[in-house]
Structure formats: structure tokens, C-alpha cells
Symmetry: C2
Subunit: 322 residues, 2 copies
């Protein structure tokens, strides 16, 4: 588990935008589970962040200088700007955010990477059908909370697994999940899942891995589909974990397990934004934010998120929208 002392707050002169670049003043930073494996120094799904570099992460901000005709001063944009007050970025790496459409912070949640991840991971990897049972782990998290709601929109039975009773109440009472349980207070995950999923499990959207996932896999139906989005239970492991071998079960159940990264679907982001935005405005996708104030508190916000202390999307607020 990262510690606050692994991070250092460094002051340096405000940079300036070069040719084709823009200077962006951060408004909100996003802290997300995927950042943890990027810090491990071993082979991962991106180059990772090296000791001494600015910590990676998505942010939404306002343009204060631009040297590119596509971007104007005052535009609100989102991009991988890292944990800093001001960031310089190539104009082509910035995505416009429309502050009239929704609060700008949603560009880091429902209308951002977590929304796209939930949309493509559930719909394109798992193809949920009406009446099927969908289980999602880290159900109250940024991605999980959207996966469950999209599955409800697709008329599935949705069961969420989360790390506190309050989170389970949140997904069931506020987000419309059909059931859920707190894995930290449950001794026998398999019996609890059997009770909550009387018709077995057709789709599993996995954010956590480990023993929770093992219990789900024991109960999958024939032709089940598993989307592997994250493995937060494994990210702090000092050596590779072992667990039951699942290939035999995949044969018996003729089941599919597929890992994915959202950028696989980058040529279809517009389609996803259209649907996510419509569902948001119809109040079919609800969300809660858990906002920590101040860049200096970003490490604490990040570590707390890894420990599961937030309900709703954890964001770090850097400045007010002007």
C-alpha cells in the first residue's frame, strides 16, 4: 500500500505552452485504482510512472494559454495532465468538456474514463441479456456503480459486492441494484452469492480479483461472460498470488474471460458518450462524488480510495470553475 511519504510536493515555475500546445489550469484531479499498478515499476499496461516524475492521472481544467487553433483560452478540457496545478499538453491530447451539459467534474466520472470503461466493458465484452444475472465487484466504486446501473437499464438482475454495509445500502437503495453484500463481513462468499443469485451468474464484471472472484467463478452458468477490468486486491501484492486454477471450470461452463483496456474502444467513444449523456439526463445513471480539497491532499485521497474509504467517485478539487 502506498504511503503519503512516497509522494513529494514540489514547487516549480509555471510552464508555458509551446507550438501546438496549451497550458491548462487544473480544476479537478481524478484518483483511480489503475494508477496503482502504474507505480510498481514492472511490466504493466502503460509505461508507468517513474520515481521523481509527476504522478499520472486524468484531470479536468481550464485553458489559460493556447498555441493551437483547436483550443481557445477559457475552454474547459480533460486529459491526462497529472497531479499538478498547471500542465502543458499537446492540443490533440485535450478533450473538450461542455460546462453547459453537466458539471465539469462528470468529465472524470459518468462522462469520462469510468463511464466509458463501464459502458464498453459491460456491453461489448459481456453482452448482457434481459433477465440475466450480472454480478459486479467493487460495486460502489466509480466503474462498478455505473456497470450495475447500465445492467439495470438492460433489464438484468444486478448483484453488487462491496466493502462496507453503507456501500451495499448505497448501491441497493440509491442506485437500484437488486442485491449486494459486504465481503468484509461475510465469511462464506459462495453461500451468500447463491442466496442472492438463485438462477446462477451469467455475467461477472470483475474489478477486484482474488477470493471474491474465486467464489463468483464457482457459480457461473453455462456460456457465462467475465469482463476483467481491474484486480485491486492484487495491486499491492509483493509477490504473485496463487489461487484455484479456473480453466477446467471454463470448459465445463463453456465460459469466456476477457481482459480489456478502455482505449481498445477509442474509435467508438462518441457512441458511448451519447448513451451515457442521455442516461445521465434521464436520471437513469445516478452518481455521488467524494471530493477532497487541495492538491497537497491528493496522496491521502488516492490512498484512501485504494483502501475503499470513499463512497462515490473520489476527486481532488484544485480550483473553482471560473
Amino acid at each position: 500500500m502506498p504511503k503519503e511519504s512516497d509522494f513529494r510536493l514540489v514547487e516549480s515555475p509555471k510552464p508555458h505552452a509551446g507550438a501546438g500546445e496549451a497550458l491548462v489550469r487544473a480544476l479537478y484531479l481524478s484518483v483511480d485504482p489503475y494508477m496503482r499498478p502504474l507505480m510498481s515499476g514492472h511490466s504493466s499496461y502503460a509505461r508507468g510512472v517513474q520515481v521523481g516524475e509527476v504522478m499520472v492521472g486524468g484531470a479536468v481544467g481550464v485553458v489559460v494559454e493556447s498555441n493551437d487553433p483547436r483550443i481557445a483560452q477559457g475552454d474547459v478540457v480533460s486529459a491526462m495532465l497529472g497531479w499538478q496545478d498547471y500542465a502543458v499538453a499537446h492540443a490533440r491530447s485535450l478533450h473538450h468538456v461542455d460546462p453547459q451539459q453537466a458539471p465539469v467534474s462528470t468529465a472524470l466520472y459518468v462522462l469520462g474514463v469510468p463511464g466509458l470503461t463501464a459502458y464498453f466493458g459491460l456491453l461489448d465484452i459481456c453482452h448482457p441479456q434481459p433477465g440475466e444475472t450480472v454480478v459486479v465487484s467493487a460495486a460502489a466504486g466509480a466503474v462498478g456503480s455505473l456497470v450495475g446501473q447500465i445492467a439495470r437499464i438492460k433489464r438484468c438482475r444486478v448483484v453488487g459486492i462491496a466493502g462496507s454495509d453503507e456501500k451495499v445500502r448505497y448501491v441497493c437503495q440509491d442506485l437500484g441494484f437488486d442485491g449486494g453484500f459486504n465481503y468484509r463481513e461475510t465469511a462464506d462468499y459462495e453461500s451468500k452469492l447463491k442466496e442472492l443469485c438463485p438462477n446462477g451468474i451469467d455475467v461477472y464484471f470483475d474489478n477486484v480479483g482474488g477470493p471474491v472472484t474465486d467464489a463468483v467463478l464457482r457459480l457461473i452458468n453455462n456460456r457465462a461472460r467475465v469482463a476483467v477490468c481491474g484486480q485491486i486486491s492484487q495491486y499491492n501484492a509483493e509477490r504473485p498470488d496463487v489461487g484455484p486454477r479456473w480453466f477446467g471450470q471454463l470448459i465445463v461452463r463453456q465460459a469466456r474471460v476477457e481482459g480489456f483496456l478502455v482505449h481498445q474502444f477509442s474509435d467508438r467513444y462518441d457512441e458511448a458518450y451519447r448513451h451515457l449523456s442521455a442516461w445521465l439526463h434521464e436520471n437513469r445513471l445516478r452518481y455521488r462524488e467524494d471530493i477532497v480539497e487541495g492538491l497537497e491532499n491528493a496522496p491521502r485521497a488516492f490512498i484512501g480510495m485504494l483502501e475503499g474509504r470513499n463512497i462515490g467517485k473520489r476527486l481532488v478539487k484544485i480550483a473553482d470553475v471560473q
Copy 2:
């Protein structure tokens, strides 16, 4: 591992065909890895065989009595007839075999369940593309030997993993695989695979599971596809085995693992038979049979196959074609 003493040879009166049934004289029995988990008594992909019942298995035979207009005396047929000289079966469960087209024993191999399994598992689960690297385990086995040859037909680079130097020579020299290795004489599977697959692994057709599969999974490329056909290394385990957890690697590689049973594809068997038969006649699918004579030797033939003693498809010959 089953023992010969787990089986009993029983004599009983020759049965007679009832309405809609036929009586079939067995010519060849097939012994295959999938029969092993059927004997375990726990949940598996078919009802399984109970103590005291006739051992399950596919066979080819000749009809000696028929009470159904679709089946005539003298027809050669294949079906799940079990280990017996004579079997009664419903006419609708019998598949006609054309003795003019190919030796009737091929109905248990290239033009039978192993052929269908290789065809659909490789082509429909893995979608191999020209120039991709395909690895197959149990490469000299009935299914593996066909998977590798079909992958060559699809212009892939094919690497086989087998359990003896002779088997590796067989798949490379006789069947046209690009490379292979004997896992029983190789200490470091991963280094050997790296040497044989300089461009990584795009497709893995798994018949064995366990440490061989672990080594392959470490080397898969982005968007790799894994078909899980069998797990012969696990079938005799007295308790569930543990191994490395693979879900994190599936995310990083955006890879897919899918278990399958050939009957998923039963509405497309005609398509597969057309292709398999054409490739067989063009000599693009080669095969070798390993024939044990006599019903009384079926247990020994089966156990030897599980131990990897055969090269080519192991069959038990019961009677001569009339």
C-alpha cells in the same frame, strides 16, 4: 490415474433393437482424454459414468438390426456406443459413415469428434490470422495434431508442446509444425517458448493446463486468444490444484480465454466435415493411428493414452469391417 482393476469385463446376452432403435456391432472404439473427468463422480460437463455402468465412449460400427427406416442393416455408423461389442441405440443418435470416402476409423478422428473439436476450437474461438504464432499443447494428440495442421493451413507459425522427443519429431517432420519441445525434458518452459516464438504468442490451444499453460500465458501478445479444450494435467488431481492468478495478465494483454465443448457447434458440423474432408483428401491433414486390438484391452489402451504412450490417435479395434 485409473488402474486396469477399476474395470471389469462382463458377458451378457446380446441385446435386441426396440422400436426406432438399431443394434450395432462395434468395429473401433475411441479412447479420449475427456472420458477421464466423466469417471470422477463430481460435477462435470456431462452426466458422467457411474460405477457398474458400461464405460462411455464413441465408437464406429456396423448395423446388424434396425427398426427404423433411416438406418439399414449393413450401414456403418458412429455414435456414443460405449465399450461393448454390441450396443443398442436410438436411430437418431447414429451418424452415417461413408466407407467409400475414407477408412471407417477416421470417423473417430479426422472426420469425427477430434476433427470437429480442432476445427471449431481453433477457428471459431481463436480466429487465427496469417502470420500469427499459434501454440498447441498435447500437440501430438488427436486434437492437437489437427489443430496444428489447420493452423498451418491458415498460414500461421505453429509451435507444439508434447511429452516425448519422438512426438516432437512427429509433429515437426511429419505434420509440418514450425517448432516444438518436449516438456518432460525441458526445465524452463518459458525460455524455450521465447526461443521458439520470437514474436510472442497470439493464439494458444490448451489441452493440458498446469505449469505448461502458465508458461504460455506469460508470453501472450496483446489481444491474444486462448481456447481451453482440455486440462489433462488436472484430471487425476485428488484436490483442486492452485497456480498463478492470471486475470491481471489478461487485462494487460487485453486477452481472452474461452472454454468450449464441441456440441456448442452442432448446427455447423456439416460445414466442418466439408472442410476436414477436403483437407484430408488434399493430404493437408495427415494422421497416424495407434491401434490396440480387442475389447478386453480397452482399459489398458485408455490408461496408456492418459499416460501419453501413444503417438497418433489411439483406437481399440473390436472387429474387422465386413
